[in-house]
């Protein structure tokens, strides 16, 4: 068994884990991040939901129920985490627009509005009302994008279809990275003689160079251009993940990719190491402190069985909202399914309660009482709690 020593071991490569890792690595700590796979960020719209319940997210956060983990984050840390995020994304070339004081609207593929806070600049030109006319460009064979859903809500809008020769989200996006493809696409687009105020695309405008591509198209046709987030696979989600990952590596962080944590070495109240499985050979990573950011059910941090809900790595006590019958309400659209409250309860240092273990800090989607869908607080809460966990970790190590 190979053994490697670190200051901090982070579990999970989501928005929470990568953010906490970047924060610590940037302050000189030796950080390893272990992940079994991709995070939910890759499935997401790439938009940073901070709290969608109030036009001002910061006010919305104050109104959350007392048990909500946002209340464990000092106000200035919330702002700091969003500022750090925006600065890092600008540096890396995928700038985000918006401020923490104001939510924005993002046009969805159903023609409804998603409320979010910080949005990728490729979505910045999305209309904020139902009046503006839109020309929607769709792609032949793209099976998760149907302009008619949007047009039903905006009858002054039109659509045209381009045949990119491929039909998958990924395939079209990588075609857009090709200069010649982009050139002939723009020729076609100009021939459409578009009258509408803005031009919308499903979010397939390139992998890394989306900002550049949107700008090129927009200048050539002389109209604002924006992307509409699609259901997974989501390009803006992937761009966000890649940017966070690159940023972490730039700061000197180490990623152990595709290594699910399968075991834990303990000594009394202290976790000494986690064992991961890689290519059949167990691998032990020693650390002084551990940050658990393995996400909720979709991310893989929690698993529900018929009898219980389990935290998969440390088997920490999980706050279970009630017996299985009560996890879901009958009304699918109620937003009140109790399962949204399942997770790990923590103290103000984000240390799990009801366990003697001292050197674990928990952040992101795995926390209890988040109700992420109901309050619209996915990535925003991950950024904020990652900052608190990282700071607690620093304090603990000193």
């Amino acid at each position: 068994m190979s053994v490697t020593e670190y200051d901090v071991i982070i579990l999970g490569a989501g928005v929470a884990g990568l953010t906490a890792g970047t924060f610590l690595a940037g302050r000189g700590f030796k950080v390893a991040l272990v992940t079994s796979g991709e995070p939910t960020a890759c499935l997401s719209t790439g938009c940073i939901d901070v709290c969608s319940r109030n036009h001002n997210p910061l006010v919305g956060i104050k109104e959350l129920p007392p048990a909500h983990p946002y209340h464990l984050v000092p106000g200035e840390t919330i702002i700091e985490s969003l500022n750090n995020f925006q600065a890092a994304m600008s540096d890396i070339g995928i700038p985000y627009v918006g401020t923490e004081k104001e939510n924005r609207l993002v046009l969805s593929a159903l023609g409804t509005f998603k409320t979010s806070c910080l949005v990728p600049s490729t979505m910045a030109a999305a209309p904020q009302d139902t009046k503006a006319s839109i020309h929607i460009v769709s792609f032949a064979g793209l099976k998760d994008f149907y302009p008619s859903y949007i047009i039903s809500r905006r009858n002054n809008s039109k659509t045209s279809v381009y045949d990119a020769g491929v039909s998958s989200t990924m395939g079209i996006a990588s075609h857009f990275e090709d200069k010649d493809f982009l050139k002939s696409f723009i020729i076609w687009l100009k021939e459409q003689n578009i009258d509408e105020d803005t031009i919308a695309f499903p979010a397939v405008l390139g992998l890394e160079s989306a900002v550049e591509i949107v700008k090129t198209i927009s200048t050539s046709v002389g109209k604002p251009v924006f992307e509409i987030p699609t259901i997974p696979p989501s390009m803006p989600g992937r761009r966000l993940f890649n940017a966070l990952k690159d940023n972490f590596r730039k700061k000197g962080g180490n990623i152990y990719w595709g290594w699910p944590v399968i075991g834990v070495e303990k000594s009394g109240k202290i976790i000494e190491a986690v064992t991961t499985e890689s290519k059949g050979r167990p691998n032990s990573l020693n650390g002084k402190a551990f940050i658990l950011a393995t996400g909720s059910f979709v991310g893989g941090g929690l698993t529900a069985t018929r009898e219980a809900i389990i935290e998969n790595v440390f088997h920490l006590p999980v706050h279970v909202p009630g017996p299985r019958d009560t996890w879901f309400e009958n009304d699918y659209f109620s937003f009140n399914h109790a399962i949204g409250r399942a997770g790990i309860k923590v103290d103000s240092f984000l240390r799990p309660t009801e366990t003697p273990l001292e050197n674990i800090f928990v952040c992101g989607g795995i926390l209890a009482d988040t109700e992420i869908l109901k309050y619209g607080c996915g990535h925003g809460l991950a950024l904020a709690t990652a900052h608190v966990a990282a700071k607690s970790c620093m304090e603990y190590i000193r």
Binding site: A109, L110, G141, D144, Y149, R153, T303, R306, L373
Partner: protein, 500 residues
């Protein structure tokens, strides 16, 4: 106003079987169903074409009927019957005396039954619990109830039968004390339609008393709800029964790529208000798990329940009530036909139509047992080679349904209902339970302009609610994870609804 000779209410196996029999005997008829075909118990059943084995001890007459019908259906309905064969397995602790009664019963009813060793049984079904004491092999089969209804209806359609699905009967029209017709509401448009006929047949299963009461009569019945779970895998290629008196969770039936296990039996008052309890799901899983241990950790993709229309009986435990059926002459131009089983639907239809022929003083004999079901040639489905050729246009990844196929169904049937597409293509029947492909199917309908975008949103909403009712009781493990993903997609990414 439409005029016909016989009006059939209910498009379950019984109603569809009656339509076919009437068609073959040349009687003009019209069938009215409030949902799609098989919307009631027929579509919510195990799909076991009984060998009769299950009833040999408790109800020898029903057992004999089952075996006869089993032979007939295997002959006339090749394309909707899978001749899996079945095993009755005896676990340690199960009564040996029941085994003796069982074997004797089979012999008396003429049902071929062969006792085999546990080793042999495990050769046949490797997933079986290795601890079984022995097994008895019987000719059980798996049957596709929806296809069965479609094929029966086919004969009726070929012979000018009138069929109205998604039409709910709301009134029985009477004149001088006789039933002379019905009024039905189109569930999509709200339009009312009046149909006149000489006789009315009430084949509405668990709803029979509701329809009877519209005509001022009564059908005494006990309603017993039964629940079933569907697994993501086909864990057995044979039907597996428990060798003991009928009880909860003692049948597992393979069907296409999945298995159905059940059932339970709880008496209910209203067939439109049925819930599944997690204790029922747990019971089924643990009982099925005793026969096939994999059941305990396999992925359950859905749980659902149906209501058995059983004739009123004084016995309390509904498992024991006779599965025999009854034809009730209400003496006012309406007949009700209730009870029975899916397996015996053809026999029930035959007896019913015999009564009608007698009342019309006509003589033509029943031919439904001899003539193969119409339309089976077309039912070879959508060949895999074709599916693979369409690969880049697959809209349902779980069941490999292509865009072309969806468009074809829409064009051919003129349907405006995504459920109809699902029944006819298996779209949405896989692990994601339509979470992804329904959005696509509705988008396709939308782009084809056969529905308005507003309708497509309503349908999407309705679909997600109905889907949730099915999966709600099977949410743990991977299924819960997938459910959370789908919820984030519709409510998060697509912002389909906003929290209040």
């Amino acid at each position: 106003m439409i005029k016909t000779d016989v009006i059939i209410i209910g498009g379950g196996a019984t109603g569809c079987g009656i339509a076919r029999d009437l068609a073959l005997r040349g009687i003009p008829h019209c069938l009215v169903e409030k949902g799609d075909f098989a919307a009631g118990a027929t579509g919510a059943c195990h799909g076991l074409l009984h060998s009769g084995g299950r009833y040999v001890v408790t109800d020898p007459i029903a057992a004999h009927e089952c075996y006869n019908e089993n032979l007939i259906l295997r002959r006339i309905g090749e394309k909707c019957v899978e001749q899996t064969g079945g095993l009755f397995v005896r676990l340690p602790g199960d009564s040996k005396r029941f085994r003796e009664l069982f074997l004797r019963g089979c012999e008396e009813a003429g049902i071929p039954a062969e006792a085999i060793s546990s080793t042999l049984a495990l050769d046949l079904v490797p997933n079986l619990n290795p601890e079984i004491e022995e097994a008895i092999k019987v000719p059980d089969c798996s049957i596709d109830p929806f296809r069965l209804c479609m094929l029966n209806i086919r004969t009726s359609q070929l012979r000018d039968g009138l069929i109205f699905t998604r039409h709910k009967v709301t009134e029985i029209v009477k004149s001088h004390g006789r039933c002379i017709g019905i009024k039905a509401t189109d569930q999509a448009t709200g339009e009312e339609r009046e149909i006149r006929g000489n006789l009315i047949i009430n084949a509405t299963g668990a709803w029979a008393n509701m329809i009877a009461s519209l005509a001022g009569c009564e059908v005494p019945m006990t309603l017993a709800k039964g629940s079933l779970v569907i697994t993501n895998h086909r864990l057995t290629n044979m039907v597996i029964n428990r060798l003991r008196p009928p009880s909860d969770g003692d049948i597992i039936v393979p069907n296409e790529a999945v298995c159905l296990a059940g059932t339970t039996s709880l008496s209910v008052e209203n067939p439109d208000k049925i819930n599944i309890e997690s204790t029922e799901v747990d019971t089924i899983i643990s009982e099925a798990g005793r026969m096939i241990p994999h059941f305990n950790n396999t992925r359950i993709i859905r749980a659902f329940s149906g209501v058995r229309p059983l004739l009123k009986s004084k016995k309390v435990d509904a498992h024991e009530i006779s599965r025999g059926f009854q034809i009730i002459d209400h003496q006012n131009g309406m007949y009700s036909i209730v009870g029975g089983k899916l397996t015996t639907f053809r026999l029930m239809a035959e007896k019913m139509v015999d009564v009608i022929m007698a009342s019309f003083k006509l003589k033509k004999a029943c031919e439904t047992a001899e003539i193969p079901l119409d339309g089976q040639e077309e039912l070879s489905g959508y060949p895999l080679s074709k599916r693979l050729a369409d690969m880049k246009n697959i809209v349902c990844e779980c069941e490999l349904v292509s865009k072309d196929e969806v468009q074809r169904i829409i064009t051919e049937t003129g349907t405006r209902n995504v459920g109809d597409i699902q029944h006819r293509t298996r779209l949405g029947m896989g692990p994601c339970q339509g979470g992804f492909c329904t959005f696509r199917a509705l988008g396709i309908m939308n782009d084809m302009s056969v529905i308005s975008p507003e309708q497509s949103m309503d349908m999407l909403r309705g679909f997600l609610q109905r889907r949730f009712r099915g999966i709600r009781y099977a949410l743990w493990g991977d299924q819960l994870r997938e459910e959370q993903l789908v919820e984030y997609i519709y409510l998060g990414i697509l912002a389909m609804e906003k929290p209040q």
